[in-house]
């Protein structure tokens, strides 16, 4: 065999493999591949803490503010553990949620009521309910796991000058409030720029837009602002994040019923 034959063979092999894999990749495969890559890029953050301001606005423009502190512990191979502690409104100050989120099983969730000093297990089968009166459902703010959806790649599109993949995802969780979501994923950074939600009747429900992305630890992108607009009610919720800290040393023991009671 001479060199050119070898080269031809190698090229032939490469060529034969390449188009096959491309041809075999369905829109579903490509959608899943994008989700896997996005998940991979967010892996390994360990833990994080952040402050969140939630501004609720109704159709008339009346606003209501909540201040919430959030601690998150990354759990490899399962949904994350998180604790949300309310600072405002003042009448719910000290109220806290402890959540062990899961992709397709119901989450485990406990609510701490400081006035009664009562820890109450919450029936979290329904993840579609609003989080503290906002336009965000529990399932919108929960950690995003690959298994939560099945995917389909739709097209490439430029969104506000950003090259995006547009993918459609279908909730795997049977009690989800959505039939589908259309997500614009930044091609360069694999982070969501916009998500459109369709309700159980497949009617346009909400649009979530991300703004002011910042990179932490040279790897993890977090948006400073998340704006959720409900097209059916005219209400909206703006989340403003600040003081993001990563790898703060949070442990599993910071996420149990006793630490929930101590959260303040």
């Amino acid at each position: 065999m001479n060199i050119s034959t070898i080269r031809t063979a190698v090229i032939a092999t490469a060529v034969s493999l390449l188009p096959f894999s491309l041809l075999a990749e369905t829109a579903e495969d490509k959608g899943l591949a994008i989700a896997i890559e996005a998940d991979k890029r967010d892996e390994g953050f360990g833990d994080s803490t952040a402050n969140m301001t939630m501004e609720l606005k109704n159709k008339q423009g009346d606003t209501s503010i909540r201040y919430i502190r959030i601690k998150t512990l990354e759990i490899i191979g399962d949904g994350d553990k998180s604790m949300s502690i309310f600072d405002e409104p003042a009448d719910v100050k000290g109220t806290a949620f402890l959540t062990f989120s899961h992709a397709i099983k119901p989450d485990e969730q406990w609510l701490y009521l400081p006035a009664l000093k009562r820890v109450k297990r919450i029936n979290s089968k329904n993840k579609s309910g609003p989080f503290m009166g906002s336009e965000f459902a529990y399932e919108d703010i929960a950690s995003q796991e690959i298994e939560k959806y099945t995917y389909k790649y739709l097209r490439d599109e430029t969104l506000n000058g950003i090259d995006c993949f547009v993918i459609e995802r279908y909730p795997a969780y049977e009690h989800s409030g959505y039939t589908r979501q259309v997500a614009w994923i930044n091609k360069a950074e694999y982070r969501p720029e916009k998500i459109v939600f369709y309700d159980r009747k497949n009617t346009l429900l909400k649009t979530l837009t991300y703004d002011g992305y910042q990179q932490y630890l040279d790897k993890y992108w977090r948006a400073d602002q998340m704006f959720m607009e409900n097209h059916q009610t005219g209400k909206s919720t703006k989340l403003t994040w600040s003081d993001y800290r990563f790898r703060t040393g949070l442990k599993d023991s910071d996420f149990n019923k006793n630490s929930l009671k101590r959260a303040r």
Partner: protein, 404 residues
């Protein structure tokens, strides 16, 4: 008093450490109570105004591993001297040492899962003069050790001092026709009296959708075992009584499980009297029921919950109105920005058909105001039935609180 001083000294010491996350919060509130009918006793009134304040100071350090919590409460009532009262709801230090958590001072704990009666919840005394629903509790001096393990949480309690239950005063309302005098000394039918050191232990855990707890308490029953008459009318009928407190051992079990949108609940206690007239006798009480939540029942975001709880007691009827009763309630949660909620229902005694009805509604206004309204009714209160004393005591209560 010595204990209180120790607590304050501890508090001062803590306050001198560099403040990280120390902050004030709390509320001040005004309350109106209006009764629909004239009272049984002419010394009572038809409308009552009162004001309350509950300042809180929380301070934590070492990343939250140590904390100091203070909650003080004071209410001034227009007429009821007993309802004009203050309480140190909380004055405690909590420290975390690996898997061990220690709390020392005055504190509060809650046990149990039921909504309409708290059977296993025995650590804190009920501040009954605050509200007839018994949800308000007095601060309890304690040392609590708690450990979180893979197999569950164990809490040990040493409770060195007993708090007596509060009751409405002569001019207060609602109250039983016979005045329960809390100014005179209560009777303790055992040696140590109020200084008796109570002990308690609780184990709780969860497995999947199941939550459960086992508890054991040895000490002074928070509920008086009897009332001793100290004043009589000309016919020899008692007009004033004092509570009698007894020692008990109480074993409790509580649990709940989710099945879809259903939550099934159970609380049960077995109480053994260790002193006094009933020494050696046992009583068994239970609450069993469910809560079903219809999520988004109007097609929107509000929830409608149905609560049904059955109360059983083998004790004779004079001791408890929860002997064979059914509590049914509807909970409407709007899930709106103002956190609007309405809970309404009634407790019906299956034997006598006496019923106690209630509506509780709350809504936030602006960022800091909370308006709460309550209606309480007593129905089927014919003579000889458990709530006969309260036959004219249907009332509305409106609370407006400013939180800071």
């Amino acid at each position: 008093m010595k204990r209180v001083l120790t607590g304050i000294t501890l508090g001062m010491a803590v306050l001198q450490t560099p403040a990280i996350g120390g902050e004030w919060s709390g509320y001040v509130s005004g309350q109106f109570r209006g009764f629909f009918e004239d009272p049984v006793d002419p010394r009572q009134h038809n409308t009552y105004l009162s004001a309350a304040a509950e300042p809180r100071f929380d301070h934590s350090w070492q990343g939250g591993d140590h904390s100091f919590d203070t909650r003080l409460f004071y209410r001034v009532d227009q007429y009821d001297d007993n309802r004009t009262h203050g309480d140190v709801r909380e004055l405690s230090w909590t420290g975390v040492f690996d898997t061990l958590e220690i709390t020392a001072g005055i504190s509060k704990v809650f046990w149990g899962v039921a909504e309409t009666q708290h059977l296993v919840d025995i650590i804190n005394q009920t501040d009954l003069v605050e509200n007839v629903d018994g949800e308000d509790k007095l601060g309890q001096p304690m040392i609590k050790l708690s450990t979180v393990q893979d197999w569950g949480i164990i809490d040990f309690f040493v409770l060195p001092y007993f708090r007596e239950r509060t009751f409405s005063g002569v001019e207060g309302r609602p109250r039983p026709e016979v005045v329960i005098d809390t100014d005179s000394d209560a009777i303790y039918d055992f040696e140590a009296g109020q200084d008796h050191t109570d002990l308690a232990v609780r184990y709780s855990h969860y497995i999947g959708e199941w939550e459960f707890g086992l508890s054991y308490f040895s000490g002074i029953d928070r509920l008086p075992s009897d009332f001793f008459p100290i004043a009589f009318d000309p016919n020899g009928q008692p007009t004033t009584v004092v509570p009698v407190y007894s020692l008990i051992n109480q074993a409790g079990i509580d649990g709940q499980v989710f099945f879809g949108d259903w939550t099934w609940k159970l609380e049960a206690i077995n109480k053994e009297y260790r002193s006094g007239r009933r020494k050696g006798s046992h009583t068994f009480q239970s609450v069993t029921g469910f809560e079903y939540t219809w999520v988004g029942f109007t097609g929107g975001v509000s929830d409608l919950g149905f609560v049904v709880e059955y109360h059983y007691s083998d004790a004779n009827k004079r001791e408890t109105i929860f002997d064979n009763d059914l509590a049914t309630a509807l909970r409407y949660v709007m899930n709106d920005a103002q956190s609007t909620e309405i809970l309404m229902g009634f407790l019906t005694d299956a034997n006598t058909r006496t019923a106690a009805g209630f509506i509780e509604a709350s809504r936030r206004f602006g960022q800091n105001w909370l308006l709460e309204a309550e209606l309480r009714t007593y129905n089927g209160t014919e003579e000889g039935r458990p709530l006969f004393s309260f036959r004219f005591d249907n009332f509305v209560q409106i609370d407006l609180a400013y939180y800071f």
